[in-house]
Symmetry: C2
Subunit: 338 residues, 2 copies
DNA sequence: TCTGGCACTCGCGTGCGAAGAGTGCCAGAG
DNA sequence: CTCTGGCACTCTTCGCACGCGAGTGCCAGA
């Protein structure tokens, strides 16, 4: 077990390193923090911390930098979440309030998060499966061609063009639309399959094929993994860590282009509060030198999707966590209003 | 006026520089291209080309690199558009064909373009103002709250939530929906304002306020500059030019985050064919060392939006132009089908 | 257990010299 | 007038040695 002072030393190392981006030595530590002990003592503590794997030196004769394990301890035990200041809160609210539709909300949120944290922001669209149906619209494009439009309570809109096996009249279409809506409107998407399974039976034989096709398209839309969407922004912030660069930024940009990777990344965070995954805790290789701070957000009590930021492991964890949490809270409010 | 051979020298310089990314000298030139003259002659030609501002040397004792003006001449006079090979064409078609909706088409197009050109791809969503209305849907969310959903022939869907000045009944809503659609369905968006201006008069006095609100929201949606959307991808490709990096990539990433900048960028290209803007020809400062290759695409004869790529001025122009043109063509086809 | 002192290790910046690439110019040939 | 070969010159790049400074580890003493 580490003594109280050693934990303080670790905390000081993390704070200094995050601030300066440079390995921190024993002397500098005692000068910048009032630890009340001499550099020599700190050196001993550092040796112990290194022994335990919390810090490391890039090369002999340099200062120490925290390891992933060190950051983990810092986040779990040594630091809290830094709340946003009132002016910041107001700024967040103002920034999000002008949004005209869901795309706009998401886009603004991404920009906001990227600006606040000065890192790469990721915002997932509200998940269909965790939303409820507001309306299902069917439009006839051609005699045997129908467009299905799905609208959720969170403002998300999905559409599909369907080729029908047989021509489908306007009246049948109106009938299907009405029946569909009366069954599913206001219900949770996860309940939709069981709510519509017997629907074809209500139709004439010649229309049943088409009705089934429409319904199966509707259900396909809800298949997890297909239905998830997200938006990212603030990639320019990656260039702020320009030293080691090309080698470090490349895989990150590549990972960010893979929606699947990102969705998995966000999906892994099960914690109801702010989740932090540090360095190698991220499954994806390209993100081994980054940390991901994420949290769920939702219009009501329940999370309908996640948002977060990706940054270097040497980030300001308390501040980032605070910003992420605050933004999630306000986005939830905005969604609830619309 | 430049002699034929000097133009060939310029072409050779551009080709070699694009290939190797390194300043090209007179000796290497005569070896790699059969110019039929000696290095000394080429040196004289180079001096002339430099005099005219087509090439430059980074420092006294290095080879020459093309200037923006040199690339411009190359693109205009010395190189054509390199057509895609049949296998490439098939690959493009296959890649785009699986798309389920417009977002998917755009997303796939971005990925495709980024992969083909190994550069940053930008795809604009079909412009509303240049599309026709497929359907307008109105949904009642609350007694005095309506959702407006707009669907275009290109598959684009926009939605807005409207707070009405007065409660609006289901029947009035249905009435408005029917009248709206009968007037605007199939018509061009630019004609919508004049088609609906007298619509409030058909309603009871108490509903007129709401109808006007709905209509003005509809018209707002069409305001150019608000209605444009785009998607970008392939930013990881920026890291391929890793030498000069941090300084060069930073402003580009920043510019790419500014939708406004990008829209202006694409908007400036008036040419009906493939447009190339080289280096300083781009108004935005951050893009001064990049070139933008763009082209309009559309479901019919007319362009509904643009797509293109952003890359270093030292890019393979013929190949990039070929890829951009080919992709635009196929995207147009796909849109026409759906 | 903490502290001050001291020797040691390394990374980093600097200066210098050799190597190499490429140019510009010039005189001569076609 | 144009092209060519030769030659001197310039400038960048690279390798290497050197010294400085930061930081460590260890030890003896309080």
């Amino acid at each position: 077990m580490l003594s109280e002072r050693r934990l303080q030393v670790l905390r000081a190392i993390v704070q200094d390193y995050v601030g300066t981006q440079e390995p921190v030595g024993s002397k500098a530590l005692t000068e910048r923090h009032n630890l009340g002990v001499s550099p020599a003592t700190v050196r001993n503590d550092m040796a112990a911390l290194e022994e335990e794997g919390y810090i490391a030196q890039p090369h002999t004769s340099a200062g120490r930098i925290p390891t992933d394990k060190g950051y983990r301890l810092f986040v779990d035990k040594l630091a809290g979440v830094k709340p946003m200041s009132p002016p910041e809160r107001r700024a967040i609210q103002n920034f999000l309030e002008g949004a005209v539709d869901l795309d706009d909300v998401v886009a603004r949120t991404v920009r906001l998060l990227a600006q606040l944290t000065r890192q790469v922001a990721i915002v997932q669209y509200p998940s269909l499966t965790r939303s409820t149906v507001r309306h299902v619209e069917l439009l006839s494009l051609a005699p045997a061609r129908v467009m299905l439009v799905l609208i959720t309570d969170t403002g998300r809109v999905e559409q599909r063009v369907i080729d029908c096996p047989a021509p489908f009249g306007e009246t049948s279409l109106a009938d299907l639309r009405a029946r569909l809506n009366s069954r599913v409107a206001g219900r949770r998407f996860t309940d939709v399959p069981s709510l519509v399974e017997d629907l074809p039976e209500a139709f004439e034989v010649e229309d049943r094929g088409t009705v089934s096709t429409v319904l199966s398209t509707l259900l396909e839309t809800l298949v997890e993994e297909n239905e998830e969407r997200l938006m990212i922004g603030g990639t320019a912030n990656l260039t702020r860590f320009a030293h080691d660069f090309p080698l470090t930024i490349r895989p990150v940009l590549e990972a960010l282009e893979e929606q699947v990777v990102l969705l998995k990344l966000l999906g892994e965070a099960k914690d109801p509060g702010v989740t932090v995954r540090i360095g190698h805790e991220n499954a994806h290789e390209g993100l081994n030198s980054t940390s991901v701070v994420s949290v769920g957000y939702g219009s009501g009590g329940e999370a309908v999707a996640k948002l977060g930021v990706v940054g270097p492991t040497r980030m300001d964890y308390p501040g980032t966590m605070g910003a992420v949490r605050a933004v999630a809270r306000y986005v939830g409010q905005i969604l609830a209003e619309s």
